[in-house]
Subunit: 139 residues, 2 copies
């Protein structure tokens, strides 16, 4: 019998704008604290974002649209001198469900536009969700 | 003109098993460190999980399948004495793309079965992704 796994559908709530236009411009995980980006939210999600304030820390979940979804093992940071690891033990984009997780600091808010620092993704990356950083749950 | 936003498809890599069968059994975010759960991975994802070890900290991304996706504002922890906030400033399940984010400690690994502590979701919740906790990126 063919397996028909359930499929869930996501639709972006916004999009990232920054000056990173190809992968070579991206720092590796945890080394991109200074990347400045703008999250442009779709107008209908404005009520969901109304309490976001400059200085706050948020998780941003993104859809890593260029990622290889068939990848199960890879060299850490693409360094072939290091042994391969399973993608569930790597933070690289290639994975079955390529959802990016980035901790950002909000630096400015203007209507549907959130200026953030620390979002290590390419220009045009779809945003799926935004969640507050909660110290007692997240460390 | 009608807007046709892009849609992305997710398929679970596994499922959560625990003794939480309804929402009243769930602690609020950050208060469920002692919930014990098992993540049952699908066989084809074994290569992706091979380096996961007891004692390690991982992020588990889940699909909160019972969540209200139309919710944009809600009372924190459902407490109507507190003012409503946008869901992007809440960690509650109801949100446009209901992806759960939980920091867990792996307590045992046996083939496709990961025993974890701290996964505050209901029995049967689909698992979307597993990522290592990276202190320099995540705090």
């Amino acid at each position: 019998m063919t397996e028909h796994p359930p499929v869930f559908e996501l639709s972006p709530v916004g999009r990232v704008r920054n000056d990173r236009h190809d992968r070579s411009a991206l720092p590796h995980q945890g080394r991109g604290r200074d990347v400045r980006s703008v999250i442009e939210l779709k107008p209908r999600f404005e009520p969901a974002a109304r309490e976001i304030r400059p200085g706050d820390l948020y998780w941003v979940l993104t859809w890593l649209h260029l990622a290889d979804r068939d990848l199960l093992r890879a060299h850490p940071r693409g360094d072939k001198s290091r042994p391969e690891r399973g993608v569930f033990s790597l933070r690289s984009p290639g994975r079955p469900n390529p959802i990016g997780l980035s901790l950002v600091e909000v630096t400015a808010v203007s209507g549907l536009r959130l200026d953030v620092r620390g979002l290590e993704v390419l220009d045009g990356t779809p945003v799926l969700d935004i969640k507050p950083y909660v110290p007692e749950a997240d460390r």
